[in-house]
């Protein structure tokens, strides 16, 4: 069930999505982390970040809104404290990197390269921080510039994660390919606003959280984006957005995805990545497909 993107080998096509799986080893009590295809780390910046103040989570119908604001331990501590653990435990990981300037990303790329980090996913699409990040993800010229610069410093598998909060995702996908990335992952969260109003003891109470919407409710948007990206590039696509079951994987394959990331569903069923990998493997075996590639081809052929 292993798959390969550029020189990066994953144990299977199921990846735990950034921000929903910490630095991976925290999930050991809840699933078999070493069996997951790969784990995308929490978005990591040059310096540690403490994230946003105030409420950070809002549950919606079939989804949730978050505004964590990239709370993370910073690249230095990640390299020193987390990489040795991940290696020792044989956990395949992807460094999810975020910054506010091209320099931030280039520096992160050099550090990743120097430390033998095999895969890096550029988060150019976080809706929850004030500067940078999302701006790169919405303008094809700056995105091209950013990815080219990172490419110069980084020899590993370079994945660029796109935001759905744009009008023309095809141009962005094309820019990413032209700049030399190895794959595209999509989608990051959608901009959303949660408002809850309660009337208690004769008084109104309001909770309002603006942030990134994720979970089952965004799947149709994600499928549409993956399909549009597919028209613009030959790069492998890692599809995500609301995936929760085996048939979702088929739908993403049909739209053009080659691998998958699972985000919010980890919160609902923390062994979902293991479950999906097992179910996928089982499906391939019991239905006489040669391998995962064969299954993918057959699904894409469906008229």
């Amino acid at each position: 069930m292993g798959i390969k993107i550029a020189n990066f080998e994953m144990k299977n096509p199921i990846i735990a999505a950034s921000g929903t799986f910490g630095y991976a080893d925290e999930f050991e009590d809840f699933c078999d982390v070493s069996k997951i295809g790969a784990v995308a780390t929490k978005g990591i910046t040059l310096e540690p970040r403490s994230g946003n103040d105030g409420e950070r989570i809002f549950e919606t119908d079939c989804g949730m809104i978050n505004r964590i604001g990239l709370e993370n331990i910073g690249i230095e501590r990640f390299v020193e404290e987390k990489i040795p653990v991940l290696k020792k435990k044989n956990i395949i990981y992807i460094l999810n990197a975020a910054g506010s300037t091209i320099e931030d990303y280039s520096k992160l790329a050099s550090i990743a390269h120097k430390n033998g980090i095999e895969a890096m996913e550029l988060n150019v699409s976080c809706p929850n921080v004030k500067s940078g990040c999302l701006e790169f993800g919405t303008d094809e010229n700056s995105l091209y510039e950013l990815v080219s610069r990172v490419r110069k410093n980084y020899g590993g598998c370079l994945i660029v994660k796109l935001t759905p909060n744009v009008t023309n995702i095809e141009n962005l996908a094309a820019a990413v390919e032209k700049a030399g990335a190895n794959a595209i992952s999509a989608i990051n969260t959608l901009k959303g606003l949660g408002i809850k109003i309660e009337y208690l003891n004769g008084k109104f109470h309001k909770k309002e959280v603006q942030g990134g919407l994720s979970g089952k409710c965004i799947k149709p948007v994600a499928l549409a984006m993956v399909k549009r990206i597919r028209t613009a590039t030959k790069l492998p696509i890692i599809g995500m957005g609301g995936i929760s079951c085996l048939s979702d994987l088929f739908e993403f394959i049909s739209a053009g995805a080659d691998a998958f990331e699972i985000g919010t569903q980890n919160f609902t069923r923390c062994d979902i990545c293991n479950t999906l990998a097992d179910e996928l493997e089982n499906f391939i075996k019991t239905n006489g497909f040669k391998d995962y590639e064969d299954l993918k081809e057959k699904i894409k052929e469906i008229k």
């Binding site: 989570i57 709370e71 919160f267 609902t268």
Partner: protein, 238 residues
């Protein structure tokens, strides 16, 4: 030890207005007061955390109050039904061999009752005061029950009489803040069990962080993972 648990419902009964006591048979080996379990409530995305009210030979008891779809689902569970939960999670109360005052508010009585049992079994003298909004919401088991008013108003008098050396508390944030202020004023140690909406339940998503003072620095702590019990002195209130 894997903390994903499949349990079966042993009992699910009404104990006060819109409030239920749920007993779950499970393979859980250990649980302490202040810890919680997180119940999967289809069709909701996020699990619902509940403070543990009691634990004996694998049977976990929690109290829950009807709030919406999630708790309505739990209410619908009957004896013998399966239930998917994570636990026991979080760090519980750090029990000290000191005369203990326990302050609960509303459903926050649940971990206080568990703590009371743990203190009693260690022979540590304790006194539990709990406040409820109205008569029909009262859950039994306290040494003093306050109805309608604020438990905080009774703390001076009880402290005077009972002379506690430590306070433990669970309830809405406003109560915890007042308990913390009271403890500070009387130079008493206090441990409080905090609450917020949890997404991941295990500390990775950083959705439920509060600010605490640790090693001389203000830092983030995830309630679900680093708590839910915190030393009241360490909590930096927003």
């Amino acid at each position: 030890m894997k903390k994903i648990q499949k349990g079966t419902i042993k009992k699910n009964r009404l104990i006060a207005k819109d409030t239920f006591a749920l007993e779950i048979l499970s393979d859980v080996k250990e649980a302490h007061s202040g810890q919680f379990i997180s119940i999967l409530c289809p069709p909701k995305v996020l699990r619902r955390p509940f403070s543990i009210k009691g634990f004996k030979n694998g049977t976990i008891e929690v109290f829950f109050k009807l709030k919406g779809e999630g708790t309505n689902y739990i209410k619908s569970l009957k004896e013998g039904d399966n239930i998917d939960f994570l636990g026991a999670l979080g760090s519980g109360f750090n029990i000290k061999n000191k005369k203990s005052l326990l302050v609960g508010a509303g459903i926050g009585i649940a971990p206080m009752l568990f703590l009371k049992d743990e203190l009693n079994s260690r022979g540590i003298e304790n006194f539990l005061i709990t406040g409820f909004k109205c008569e029909n919401e009262v859950i039994k088991g306290s040494d003093k029950t306050v109805i309608g008013g604020s438990v905080i108003d009774f703390l001076p008098e009880i402290t005077e009489k009972f002379k506690p050396q430590i306070i433990y508390s669970c309830g809405p944030e406003i109560v915890l803040k007042l308990v913390s202020d009271f403890a500070k004023k009387h130079d008493l140690e206090a441990q409080i069990a905090m609450e917020k909406v949890f997404a991941c339940q295990v500390g990775v998503c950083r959705g439920c962080v509060i600010k605490i003072l640790k090693d001389g620095k203000v830092q983030n702590a995830a309630i679900c993972h680093d708590g839910p019990v915190f030393d009241a002195k360490a909590v930096v209130w927003e």
